[in-house]
Symmetry: C2
Subunit: 486 residues, 2 copies
């Protein structure tokens, strides 16, 4: 398809067609000191040509430093290129790019990780400052000038609503047939707020587009770059064992009458364990599953195709590169099975508590009291950020954290006396699962929790040490609250 | 009024009148090993004659140990008497009684503090085991056998719904005219849950009574004991300064357009600072205030009477003893101004986020990263428990923690490099306020937060030490995430 055909197909508002320009021209809209809000969540749906042009501009000697706000992590064309070019000065609310991470940990870029449900609210309230420019990836622009997103929504709707100027980067790599997959909804601000009317993960409550006043669209550019998210590695034996323990635990909870069958909607974090758990569910006896999560990975699609999952809701559809073409070639078929929402809704405490989700997220390390570190290696080196785990862990009906019992080839225990950074307190962690087994911590005192975690979750090589640590704590603090410290 | 008149007045269901018995007889319903769920929240609305009789039974040599679940803290007739008599073996979800606390900290009683919004859900799901007996304080029983609560609701509705047997302790110290103040509502369990239809703190969505099948009522007893909550101390100079800083901060947020005027509904914790803040609001220019909180203390009534607060919602009406009579003598007058709800609703993450509450709670200590310790003195000695602070802090629109900058007559800094126990992580703490000033931490990196907390909140006597600690951290960890530790 030539450029003219593409414009005709993807920009249905005729007046807006004249605003098509080059990424280089569009990148000139950014002024030094701007706060720029962009689309993108977990490596998909972020602008690509725009940040590459902006990075080139900076590398050519233009002084341009920005505060960058996205939904969550984005690809290397954005976080990588702009951090290498020295453009990103301050970054919210999440990242997972190696070059950006290194600069954050070197103190060169100011980074603050935020609960993801909160980001759009803070943008709208002005807590993160005025949004000078919004840059969003789109599949199309409709007749009225509204923006049809691509593989994620994130905070795109909030930045478009709050910015005076909007750059739309239309991705020809995403078929226009994705239109209809999204459900964009935002609560009226207080005091006029109404309940978010979702009572089931598949409920559609909003529009299939991001509302946008066409006068705000300052530039439209095109890109054919594919989202840069990584291939999911196949589950290793440890992941497989964690997944099997988790499913056996859910089965036993149904048996005991503490969980319903069909299960409440599932939320699962990003990565291999999350994918392994869902893959494993395909082989279980559970049926009529639903998913209400941040990020849909490959396994959710498999479960949908296998008829195990009826419907799935997320803010991001992060499919492995090897499967992308097959999925997007028939993306229209998924419209009654998949809903992509703003992260304000996918991670809404209101909906999470109402639906009594089963929240499954990964820990870097967990301690004997039940506290979880999700963000900091050794307590000081930022890994990615808290992401949505706090929205789900605090408000879900059942909160599970998983981790391998050891790291670094078995040299380090991921079960420690005291975590080096607390992201999820003992009050938020219901169940810990490693490849060793399951510790259901609900209703247990600190010492009871510690015993169970050592017995069921710690690697046998480290149980002796951990038990000695617990015994020392007991000799000092009879009741066992607080830190079970050395 | 003699007993016969009292029975006629307070037990409107004629058939149930025959179930009136003595506390001693009723206490025999408890068997060793029972899990007993009781009413009571922040020192009001808990059974009194029943636990005193149960304690006497144990002291006379009967072996009877129980797991005790209430809404939150209760008076000495319950937590004190039953812990001294050795009856309480395990305790959920909150307490503030000295004798109970000492036994918890001595390792004699197993105690687990829980997020208060979660307790009723866990009771209904059976996470805390079967409720063998419910004991609830009531003002009356209606024609159908339903129970009219007294000064709190807490988890009374949940324990009545889940227990096979119910003991009702009718308090003649609470006038029957309290009927109509309560609004008892519980969501249908998933998958049939609907939105909680509260869009304004005064909305009434349920019944004025706790629904109860009269066949479950195993005994009815009477008591004229007054709730044992303590007198609120008058605000000292430190509290007054904290309150003034807080109100000046709210004014500046309105000025900056980040808060609306009228303000969003207010939540405030329990105690002197909370009361001082509300008292101070009476003198401010704010009008048309609303309150959506756990516990209404004296100042809320003053604000209602002064016309500053239009309506207040809570799960507990905890009025100082010296004011109780005046308030309860005309409790009927407050029915359009006060709503008492189950704590599942007063602390609902759904409603908290929807109403974008201003959450104001107290810290034992706060650290330079912005983490807050609300529960453990020195990291190991349990004070009271996390209570509802986690429900509000994570989900509110604006989360403020207050503390005096020093404790122990100025000898200890309440601003520390690293808190000894994390209850609220850096991600949940928006603003810290001491008598020294205000640190608005939103959007700031760990090092930026630390600088601001030292400059604005720490006592001048400790700023040098804290700054040295921060400098050492900076020399080790350029980006300043994680623990700013020694």
């Amino acid at each position: 398809m030539d450029q003219k055909q593409l414009i005709a197909e993807r920009i249905r508002n005729v007046d807006l067609r004249s605003r098509v320009t080059t990424p280089e021209e569009a990148a000139l809209l950014v002024k030094d000191g701007y706060t720029v809000g962009m689309s993108g969540f977990t490596g998909v749906g972020y602008p690509k040509a725009f940040p590459l042009a902006l990075a080139a501009r900076a590398e050519a000697g233009d002084r341009v430093g920005i505060t960058l706000i996205t939904g969550a992590s984005v690809g290397d064309e954005l976080d990588g290129a702009l951090s290498r070019a020295g453009v990103i000065k301050r970054r919210y609310p999440y990242q997972s790019n190696a070059d950006l991470r290194n600069r954050i940990n070197a103190g060169e870029i100011k980074y603050v990780d935020l609960h993801l449900s909160q980001v759009a609210l803070w943008i709208r309230q002005g807590i993160l400052g005025k949004i000078d420019l919004a840059v969003v990836e789109a599949s199309s622009i409709d007749e009225a000038g509204n923006i049809i997103p691509t593989a994620s929504v994130g905070v795109a709707d909030a930045v478009v609503a709050c910015a005076d100027k909007v750059v739309v980067e239309i991705s020809s790599a995403i078929p226009k047939e994705i239109e209809g997959l999204h459900d964009v909804y935002s609560s009226e601000p207080a005091p006029n707020t109404k309940p978010i009317p979702i009572t089931s993960p598949g409920d559609r409550i909003g529009t299939t587009y991001i509302p946008c006043d066409p006068d705000k669209i300052a530039a439209i550019i095109f890109s054919d770059r594919i989202d840069g998210n990584a291939e999911l590695k196949p589950a290793d034996e440890t992941m497989q064992q964690i997944a099997e323990h988790l499913i056996a635990f859910l089965e036993s909870e149904v048996e005991a009458g503490r969980l319903t069958d069909p299960l409440p909607p599932l939320q699962s974090g990003v990565g291999g364990v999350a994918n392994a758990v869902l893959s494993c569910l395909a082989k279980s006896d559970f049926t009529d599953l639903t998913v209400y999560t941040e990020v849909m990975q490959d396994a959710v699609l498999d479960l949908i195709e296998a008829g195990k999952v009826k419907v799935a809701s997320a803010t991001s559809l992060t499919i492995s590169p090897s499967r992308k073409k097959a999925v997007f070639d028939r993306i229209g078929d998924f419209k009654d099975k998949i809903v992509l929402r703003p992260q304000e809704i996918s991670n809404s405490p209101e909906v999470i508590r109402r639906l009594s989700l089963i929240a499954m997220n990964t820990a870097i390390e967990a301690d004997l009291s039940g506290n979880v570190n999700s963000t900091h290696i050794g307590g000081v080196r930022m890994m990615n950020g808290i992401g949505g785990s706090g929205d789900f862990a605090r408000n879900a009906g059942l909160t599970i954290f998983t981790t391998a019992s050891t790291a670094k080839g078995g040299k380090l225990s991921c079960i420690v006396p005291v975590v080096s950074h607390v992201d999820h307190t003992e009050h938020d962690v219901d169940v810990i699962i490693t490849e060793q087994g399951v510790a259901d911590l609900r209703g247990l005192t600190a010492f009871e929790r510690a015993e169970l975690i050592i017995d069921n979750c710690a690697h046998p090589d480290f149980r002796g040490e951990l038990r000695a640590s617990l015994e020392r704590a007991k000799s000092r603090v009879p009741m066992g609250h607080g830190l079970i410290a050395e």
